[in-house]
Symmetry: C2
């Protein structure tokens, strides 16, 4: 199938005098996860990961993806003519540097301007100009070509939008708009144009259902000093919602009349280079003086208010309880009963659905046994999925959307006996997670300062996981959100957010041995202020996740005494937190799963 797709595509490329065709699975809002309608790269290449860009030349084709997907992409591209470009690896060019090497005078690069960020569009524009080439970013031509190839392309979604009650959001839209307008004043700007869906959901205290697991609605927002407009799909509107926006003095424009919204923007306009499409930018540029700036709403959204934090804490407690019960079931039954990866996932998903304020999963549950877990974002498929069995590791990365928050948690469960080396890997992952969770640092640090705390124990044994250590987590919103993250490296010019009190972030080091196993232990942690003194404001984290770490994977030989104290303190907290909800045999199991462990020494068996 894949080969046919590319042949047909190349025919269209030749007809239109196109040398290179570039596409990702991207939507007009620069969403990380997109609806089926926008999964163009998946359709053309067969690679299903969340991040990947396909470049099709007249002869060669390549797919760029990041470390989370190296194993999966190699697997899914097997049998195709598409080469894999492992992003960030030594000697692997970026798309732009690939084009820089290969472009010939007059070459035309074609992409859909509405499905690529300003930053990326400008980079392609520059490299094309450098070689006396040209870019074509016409979205109509793109759809024209696509629809001929992809006859069963799904329709775009337009689910009904709902508003959040005040006991859920903690800050009304009027106040949020005031903050944005104050920012406009400070920046001496007239308007801000927002394309990012989660930023708009936060701003208006609304939620939708247009992208699986992401409770967002397709929308564009323009806010001026006195006026505010939002583009929404007609089908997603209710009378209640129309009144709600009226009350908040926000005018609704039909989503397919984006041009009307664009025409209203005038003067100095704030625009996010990575959160807005190149196509929209080119149209806004005609009437406005663009000031590029990271969306201020993203910064506001990332810092949870006290009501949100209270809700999140309760949410994580309920979610942790469910996951702990699931782990107990798996530990006790996986090697006795026949349980497959999808059966296990279904079971956990159903348990989550039983939580009172459940809305949706926050992403499709990653339920991976043995070698499958070496693929960071593996998705098991019924029928071809593995059976959980003894002597292996079972990784489960999962979470839910609740009316009280969004969860994301990973545990790796030991089934039967495992090798000493696997235990070393497991222990080092646990140690990394605990060291970051217990970090104390001066205000001003970003995730770059802290990454080595989680990753260092693995670097010490010559292992690196090819992904970040942590990402921001939304509140009843996307499971991945910015601006904060925990990563060691950064692109030149990339926005680097300081860690602020109230940010929720994941802490998830791992070890991935292709063909063997994957280990990931992930807690969600909440950034908080510690003491302030003459040396400055100190910061730390509270753990939100309260789920035992499997002690069957721990070998204390690979922990120092501080690490051991952190593990025991964490397990004590888990026990005390979950205890009120358990009794009898279940409580006894929890007590054992969170028991205090000690180090062995040659002088004294247990000290």
């Amino acid at each position: 199938m894949v080969r046919d797709n590319l042949n047909l595509l190349r025919k269209k490329m030749r007809e239109n005098d196109i040398s290179y065709f570039i596409t990702a699975d991207a939507d007009p809002h620069m969403s990380e996860y997109v609806g089926g309608h926008y999964k163009v790269r998946t359709y053309l290449s067969g690679f299903t990961g969340s991040n990947g860009t396909l470049l099709v030349g007249l002869k060669d084709a390549y797919l760029w993806t990041d470390g989370r997907y190296f194993v999966q992409a190699a697997d899914e591209l097997k049998g195709s003519t598409i080469g894999l470009m492992k992003m960030g690896q030594r000697d692997v060019p970026t798309i732009v540097s690939y084009l820089d090497k290969n472009l010939k005078k007059g070459d035309k690069i074609f992409f859909n301007g509405n499905l690529i960020s300003i930053s990326k569009g400008q980079a392609l524009e520059e490299v094309a100009a450098k070689h006396n080439g040209q870019i074509i970013y016409d979205s109509e031509l793109f759809d024209d070509i696509l629809n001929k190839l992809w006859t069963e392309r799904p329709e775009d979604s337009a689910k009904e939008i709902y508003t959040l009650p005040s006991k859920v959001h903690g800050e009304n839209t009027i106040k949020k708009l005031q903050r944005v307008r104050k920012h406009l004043e400070e920046k001496d700007a007239d308007y801000i144009f927002i394309s990012k869906l989660d930023d708009q959901m936060w701003l208006f205290n609304i939620r939708g259902g247009d992208i699986e697991c992401n409770p967002v609605a397709y929308s564009y927002t323009l806010i001026g000093k006195n006026k505010a407009y939002i583009c929404l799909k007609d089908a997603s509107l209710s009378d209640k919602l129309i009144k709600y926006f009226e009350k908040n003095a926000v005018s609704i424009i039909s989503y397919n009349k984006l041009s009307s919204l664009i025409k209203k923007a005038k003067g100095k306009l704030l625009l996010d280079k990575d959160g807005t499409s190149y196509g929209v930018y080119k149209r806004l540029e005609e009437n406005c003086q663009i000031i590029f700036e990271h969306n201020i709403t993203e910064d506001y959204k990332a810092v949870k208010n006290s009501l949100e934090i209270e809700n999140i804490k309760g949410c994580y407690l309920r979610d942790s309880l469910v996951l702990t019960r699931f782990i107990k079931y798996i530990k006790e039954n996986a090697t006795k009963k026949h349980i497959t990866e999808t059966e296990a996932a279904d079971m956990l998903d159903n348990m989550r659905r039983g939580i009172e304020d459940f809305i949706d999963l926050s992403f499709p549950t990653i339920s991976a046994f043995g070698p499958n877990a070496a693929m960071m974002h593996y998705e098991a498929v019924k029928g071809s999925d593995a059976k959980l069995s003894t002597g292996g590791l079972y990784l489960v990365d999962s979470g839910g959307q609740y009316l009280s928050g969004t969860t994301d948690v990973t545990r790796t469960i030991i089934l039967g006996k495992i090798h000493a080396k696997t235990k070393m890997h497991y222990t080092k992952v646990a140690v990394g997670m605990l060291r970051l969770m217990n970090a104390k640092f001066l205000y001003g640090c970003s995730g770059r300062n802290l990454d080595i705390l989680a990753r260092g124990p693995l670097w010490d044994i010559g292992i690196d996981y090819k992904c970040g250590t942590g990402h921001g987590i939304g509140y009843i919103l996307n499971v991945h959100e910015g601006p904060q993250n925990i990563r060691p490296f950064r692109r030149a010019g990339e926005y680097e957010a300081k860690l602020e009190e109230g940010m929720v972030i994941s802490d998830e080091p791992g070890v991935y041995i292709a063909g063997q196993y994957g280990i990931r232990i992930e807690n969600a942690i909440l950034c908080k202020k510690l003491e302030q003194n003459s040396d400055g404001q100190f910061m730390g984290f509270d753990t939100l996740t309260l789920v035992p770490i499997d002690l069957d994977g721990i070998d204390t030989k690979y922990m120092n005494d501080d690490d051991l104290a952190m593990l025991n303190a964490y397990h004590k907290l888990v026990f005390n937190s979950l205890k009120p909800y358990m009794k009898g045999e279940e409580l006894r199991w929890l007590k054992n799963a969170t028991r205090n462990i000690r180090k062995f020494s040659k002088f004294n068996k247990e000290i």
Copy 2:
């Protein structure tokens, strides 16, 4: 005296219609340490630290300095009308943001364009323009005003320049010039103009003596694809040197004919924004198309070649032996004999002078007892200096310039009994130093990734030292060199160098309690490659410094078992390295000073 200076200065300012006068201790080469002729800020303010900028308004005056000098500056500014601006502290404005708040329409900001970097000059230019003000950067007017105030201003230096033998430099100038020219080609540039003195010394394998402790000669260099020019002071030239440059096809121009050199630059010119003066830039700009780029020579210079590394290792061994002997003397005599800070420094300096290839100190020895050590860059003055006595900490930060390298080392020595809290601070500093020294990390890291290893143990107890953890160290050159460093934070747009094999860097966490004591333990470490595998190239450090850490300051309660193992391993290395040069009582002392220590436990006194 200070008040008179400012009054006279303000009179001149009014005469010339100047609203703000800005000066640092700076030379035309953006040197960190400058000759007496250029210590304008020291003269005007009385503050003697190496980093500080004075802003004099018609009514107010402020001095900006960094964390190393907060205590010292407060002390030295006492009795003056100059306010202290503590850089990097919350709510303390930068000079530019201070001006942004205070500038009035038409205000004129005056500085010497030759004594300020392009970056800083442009920032002042921008803030002036924003408020419809103006900058004046005329260096003649500056000298005219200065010379009237400062009647005993020292002359500029012009010491004789010497060349390094090949067994010392390891790479001749022809080859170094080839590397620079290859870079010009890669960047499609015609010329590079270099003002930084140490970069030029490295490039031409020459050394001078124009700045105390920095073996550099005043110079400017212009390199084109085929031609190379150097501006040197006539008095610093010997016949031998003239022939040497002839042989290397480098034309010498008189230092006071900088204009002739500037005229030779044409076409596309590489220029370092932070390593070139604003004044020179404005003149170069007239004929050239400027491409701003960090000096490539700084990157080349920072990576020591194998011969340099071999020499450096021997150099540090000899230097460590001398410091260890000094420490033994101090430990045994300080509380018995009357020894003052300057006497101790003189003794150590004389011991260093006895090393075969000694050239100079690498900076004035910091010899500080008790509260004086809380000033990071304290300089004791004969007569008013403190006496070493029991129950205190003695900090000695020192180093030498040798024909085999440049050393920089700090030890803090415990005299008599100290408080439990002091021991905690001492132990945490030692732990921080050891953790960074033993770091293992993936290639691609900069000092930002690693800083927390050294600083974290202090953050854990709510302490921050207000300076970087480490700086690059030159080879028979400046004791501070770039581009690498170990720091937690960075200015926007600041060049951030990856840590490369062959870089030498200091590792010097500390605790500074104003009015009480200062603790700093500093090793010089050499970056090296460790294993390379499919996860990437791993990197680590070798220690160059081989001097015992005073065990009288260590309380194992504040170390985990990994820390303890690192300390013992380091002391074993120190013992084995110095052992061949000691015998009898001295060797016994070393053995005890580097003895293996163990942790106490409640179960088992010593395990």
